[in-house]
């Protein structure tokens, strides 16, 4: 995804729970708390603690953790309606 598109996409999903896939294959799920030109911050759900995100999850509050936009290959809403 082009970086500018990705930035716009992150802004659009600000405050919503998303699922981010990175170049290394890792997947992060959480609410977008902040977006800058080259980073996006997400706060994982507390109840995803056992999901390998526990370390961040336990912090619970604040911005969560940042992911470089350049590392991201895809971002979608974490849950959605489908036909």
């Amino acid at each position: 995804m082009y970086q500018s598109n990705l930035y716009n996409q992150c802004c659009r999903y600000h405050g919503q729970k998303v699922r981010i896939t990175c170049r290394d294959g890792s997947v992060h799920v959480g609410e977008i708390t902040r977006v800058s030109r080259d980073m996006v911050w997400i706060r994982p759900d507390e109840n995803l603690g056992g999901y390998g995100l526990g370390f961040f999850g336990r912090r619970g509050f604040g911005l969560g953790f940042g992911i470089a936009l350049g590392a991201i290959t895809g971002i979608v809403l974490a849950s959605a309606f489908f036909w």
Binding site: A80, F81, F82
Partner: protein, 235 residues
């Protein structure tokens, strides 16, 4: 025939993209009595999540068909990665390249509504064995839809019509499915978690706009448009 909504699902590569999601698929199929000799058709297979599950769980002969080349490509990628033997191919639900009486079980998860419903049902009844069964999950009109709403649904999803539950049953019967039963599923149309995704690179922002439009549309019209699961037999 192009369909932007189906393109969206293909580019985002979302598995279980039907009402109820993959959880509904599991609850419908997990306890089915499917034998290794049975031939199963997953029509409108998408990225192949259900087809892969069938092959892994039951070791049956699975054929997965979709009319979208990107879906078929992603389905093949999945089958290869999971090392399951599934015959994946591009195909048109209205003109299937199979002999009469080919399949013991057919599964369509929110597929038929995107086609000419009566033609597809006739074609599926042709390729189903006379003692076979078909399970379908499809969009329905929960109550009377105004002409405006009907038009909106059709243009948003590229479909021809939204049938009521009764109309679905009638169409199924006319296609030769003499025994049609409804399977009880959660009646409310809820969001499903996206846990299975294979996203294409550089998705046009138009598709994000379309996703948003679709999401807002459903939130506004959930009372009017829902889904049903039908279990269908020819005899």
């Amino acid at each position: 025939m192009s369909n932007s909504y189906l393109d969206l699902l293909a580019y985002f590569g979302i598995g279980g993209a039907h009402p109820g999601g993959f959880n509904l698929t599991l609850s419908l199929l997990e306890d089915e009595n499917i034998q290794p000799v049975d031939s199963v058709l997953d029509i409108g297979c998408g990225t192949g999540q259900t087809a892969a599950f069938l092959a892994e769980r039951f070791h049956c002969q699975v054929t997965a068909v979709d009319n979208h080349p990107i879906m078929v490509e992603k389905a093949r990628e999945r089958f290869k990665n999971r090392k399951v033997s599934v015959n994946a191919m591009e195909g048109d639900t209205q003109h299937l390249d199979f002999a009469d009486n080919s399949f013991d079980l057919i599964i369509a998860e929110s597929v038929i509504v995107f086609t000419d419903i009566s033609k597809t049902l006739k074609e599926l009844s042709r390729v189903l064995k006379s003692d076979g069964r078909m399970i379908i999950i499809e969009m329905i009109a929960e109550q009377y839809l105004t002409e405006e709403l009907q038009r909106k649904v059709c243009s948003l999803y590229g479909i021809h019509e939204v049938l009521t539950e009764k109309q679905w049953i009638l169409q199924l019967q006319q296609a030769g499915f003499t025994q049609v039963d409804m399977i009880n599923t959660p009646s409310e149309f809820i969001q499903s978690d996206i846990t299975d995704i294979n996203q294409s690179k550089n998705i046009n922002t138009d598709f994000y706009d379309l996703w948003e439009e679709h999401n807002e549309f459903i939130l506004r019209n959930r009372k009017f448009i829902g889904y049903r699961t039908f279990s269908c037999h020819l005899t």
